[in-house]
């Protein structure tokens, strides 16, 4: 399938293609990717669900104008869908089937999109490689000996492998942008509050946002437009109008792009640095002004992130207790049941973060860790606020310090945490960010990142469209 989402929708609308045939084709590709190519992209391939959805579309003339009419997509397996298992890549949800549907999924359905499967992920979205899944490692379709990135690695791989033009993922510290960069596709993390989190299984509630993957900027923008907007079921979703997220013709004259020095450290892969430099040259050639800027608290982002996120996670994951759903192991009394269930159900990375989070919230440590981290988080946010207030419209940085790596190559958890070094700042500040392909490093994709002020997705997409057009085939070479 080479057509992008708007192409598929147009073909369905004109009668040139039938939703059922499209669904069948996507399902066939999904099975081939996992069964023949051993990519391990899916936790659930939703054969029946997808065929039913496609059949329903064919009988529904009212949805003729739906923007994603007949477009197949995949969703990370931490989004709740009625009738489909929700695993979060964990054993602890064994046997649990979603009894309700997430708002983002609901909006995709209303837009005519067809869900073909639930994708693999690091357990509870904790990881940067999709290695920490109870369902095995997902392979990068562009380089199957390497990881696709994570934690939304399954969705990124599905889009990169051409199974579906659109994927939904979730971000807490870079879990869409980083795998997008590793898989050579576009990944968007919207402003905190832009997309409803209702039905997204929480990892760290103040950082989590649902994001989208597309093979080009247009598909990503289209999907984002569909899922964005206020939802009464999420008190943190924002009541801010959703613009069209379309491209803007003409030059970038008057646009100021900041190049933050903290995102170009000496240890950055020089080839990635070079690709970023080339991308900035293109932007300058289009009329943009590129300005050196500084975000002085950037170095503290990883430590802050690894206090705030585990703290919230330790509380969010308390509900997986064996009482109401999912795995339950017998144990000695109530406490024994809790211990047996949670020890068996959670993998090592999740266990590590629950322990870390419990510790930083404990009496006597709260002030030294959690409170301090929240204060520094404010400083990081202020860095962005100041730079955007100074006339800078967007920041451009590498998405990751390195291209995709091999499974098992980051055995030290801290090494793995550094994969998010350029991405987790946007989550801490709540600002939108996007990763777009900017070329290859030794044949492996690299991503460049735009970050904008809160709710400035429109500008972010405009710049991405412009860069994508300017780079052309270079973005994938």
């Amino acid at each position: 399938m080479s057509a992008n989402a708007s192409g598929i929708a147009a073909a369905v609308r004109s009668g040139a293609r039938a939703p059922r045939a499209i669904a069948d084709e996507a399902l066939t590709k999904a099975h081939a990717a996992d069964e023949r190519d051993q990519l391990n992209i899916f936790i659930t391939i939703a054969d029946r669900y997808a065929r039913d959805a496609a059949a329903a579309l064919e009988g529904d003339a009212a949805r003729h104008e739906a923007p994603l009419l007949g477009v197949p997509y995949v969703a990370k397996d931490n989004l709740s869908v009625t009738g489909l298992p929700v695993t979060c890549g964990s054993r602890i949800l064994e046997g649990y089937v979603g009894p309700y549907t997430a708002t983002a999924i609901e909006r995709m359905t209303r837009a005519g999109a067809i869900l073909v499967g639930k994708t693999n992920m690091d357990e509870f979205a904790m990881g940067s490689s999709t290695e920490y899944s109870a369902f095995g490692v997902t392979r990068n379709p562009l380089a199957p000996t390497l990881v696709p990135g994570g934690s939304s690695g399954g969705s990124a791989a599905a889009v990169a492998a051409g199974i579906a033009p659109i994927g939904l993922g979730s971000e807490t510290g870079g879990s869409v942008r980083q795998p997008a960069a590793f898989c050579g596709i576009v990944g968007v993390k919207p402003t905190y509050g832009r997309v409803s989190r209702y039905g997204l299984v929480a990892f760290a509630s103040s950082l989590d946002q649902i994001g989208v993957f597309g093979r080009d900027v247009q598909d990503a923008a289209l999907a984002m437009r569909v899922i964005a907007g206020r939802d009464d079921l999420d008190a943190t979703s924002a009541d801010v109008a959703v613009p069209g997220y379309g491209a803007r013709a003409g030059s970038l004259k008057g646009t100021v792009i900041g190049k933050p020095r903290e995102y170009f450290p000496p240890e950055l892969d020089p080839k990635i640095a070079a690709l970023c430099g080339a991308a900035l040259e293109r932007l300058r050639a289009l009329g943009a002004e590129v300005r050196d800027v500084s975000l002085p608290h950037t170095a503290m982002a990883i430590p802050v992130y690894y206090i705030v996120a585990p703290a919230e996670a330790s509380s969010n994951l308390a509900r997986f207790d064996g009482v109401r759903y999912g795995l339950r192991m017998e144990g000695d009394g109530l406490r024994g049941m809790y211990e047996a269930t949670r020890s068996k159900g959670f993998g090592p990375e999740v266990t590590r973060r629950i322990m870390l989070g419990t510790y930083v919230l404990s009496a006597g440590y709260y002030d030294a860790y959690y409170r301090k981290a929240m204060q520094v988080r404010t400083l990081i946010t202020d860095d962005f606020r100041k730079v955007f207030a100074s006339g800078v419209h967007a920041l451009f940085t590498p998405t990751t310090p390195t291209p995709a790596f091999a499974p098992g190559s980051k055995s030290d958890p801290y090494e793995m945490y550094l994969s998010d070094i350029f991405t987790c700042t946007a989550n801490l500040a709540g600002i939108p960010a996007i990763s777009v392909p900017i070329g290859r490093v030794n044949g492996l994709p690299a991503g460049g990142q735009f970050m904008c002020a809160h709710f400035e997705e429109q500008r972010m997409f405009e710049l991405s469209f412009a860069l994508e057009a300017a780079l052309g085939a270079e973005a994938h070479r």
């Binding site: 931490n78 009894p99 309700y100 999420d234 330790s314 509380s315 509900r319 207790d321 919230l361």
Partner: protein
Amino acid sequence: MSAENREPSGVRLSQSRTPPSTEYEMVVGLEVHVQLKTRTKAFCRCSTSFGDAPNTNVCPVCLALPGALPVLNAEAVELAVRAAVGLGCTVHETSIFARKNYFYPDLPKGYQISQFDRPLATGGRLEFPVADRSTTVGITRVHMEEDAGKSLHDRFPGATAIDLNRAGVPLIEIVSEPDMRSPAEAGAYLRALKQILEYARISDVSMEEGSLRVDANVSARRRGETRLGQKTEVKNMNSFSGVERALEVEFARQCELLERGGSVEQQTMLWDGATGQVRPARAKEGSHDYRYFPEPDLPPLVLEAGFVRRVRESLPELPAERRARFASEYKLTAYDVDVLTSAVAVADYFERVADRADPKTAANWIMGEVLAALRASGQAIDEFMVRPADLAALLGLVASGTVSHTAAKQIFAVMAAKGGNPAEIANAQGLLQVSDDDQLRRWLDEVVAEHPREAERLAAGEKKLQGVLIGAVMKKSKGSADPKRLGQLLAERFGT
């Protein structure tokens, strides 16, 4: 309670609820959890209805299914603010929800959404009478939170059942200052608090249904000492009198420890109403680290400008104001006012009767006949068959002389049993008072004819026989003769 003071060495927990010594002073602060009377739960749209089949009022949010999120119920905020305003608190424009983390099977999320360091309201006071003296207790804070579900240990042998209908029902916690010095003060505080919550229509305030729950912090210190002693927390009381008894017992236990040179240990004590004893809860109970942190799923609660003022202005009349008004408007005695205002429904009932009848008579009837009938039937005044308008009509019939006081009581009994219009009942039962002179004279003639000797003696001036003849007429008329007019006619006839 005996007023006798025993020597400390004579105290036996199981035998005595008498304070062991006047040397020690009791210090009490109360934490009261109150269910708000909202239609739906605090963070989802499930019904709060009490007594439904287990696990029927539940949804993804209150079951804590993966991915579900809380959304604050505006009605709960309004009731909580009403309570805070009624208790004279400063209501904060911004307050913050926090997670209180602990594992328990009836706590679905593994944390309770509560408020911690930025509560809804702080710094109020409650003034109320104790033994004819006005007392004031400071209110430390009022904060919002959600209820947990219920663990049922007696449904299935060897297993615990969980009912989550109550999970997520909105609560406020009202924390008092340690300003109370006796069980009686604590009891009076609770009664006054209950009255306010009921008057302001904030809660059903039923300890039986669990819509009001009380935990007590109690400590003992030598009289004259200004520092607080080590406190314990007493839980599991299910009535106000249970709170008073538990405080006495726990205070006696602490005093005995201190007398012996021991010290009180910080712990949670559980009251056992059946045995009248307190016993320590499992040791862990008191040592929880709840790891509070701001609830990231809910933005800070920001009350819009003017909201608190509007709530204050729309606050229904509170007990103190109503007592004052009853005294001045209806000229009732202090005792009458206390009885009539103790429950808001009784006060409302009184006012509806007093609108159309003499207030003092209405008060007497309600405090007498009405409350006695309710006690006898176990009914609430809201479901009482005698509606205020009907009672007022009955009092009107008495005032106009249409029925006698005796007949009115008979009519009331019929109304209380079956309801109905008093005039119709009087008519149907022949209880209308006869003051028609012709009829009265006819009866008098008959009685004189039947009792010629008594009539002669009365005519001769033997006045005590007046009563005999009147009694005979009353009997003949089956109580319907107007005794006053009858007396006048008799006097005319015999020139007495």
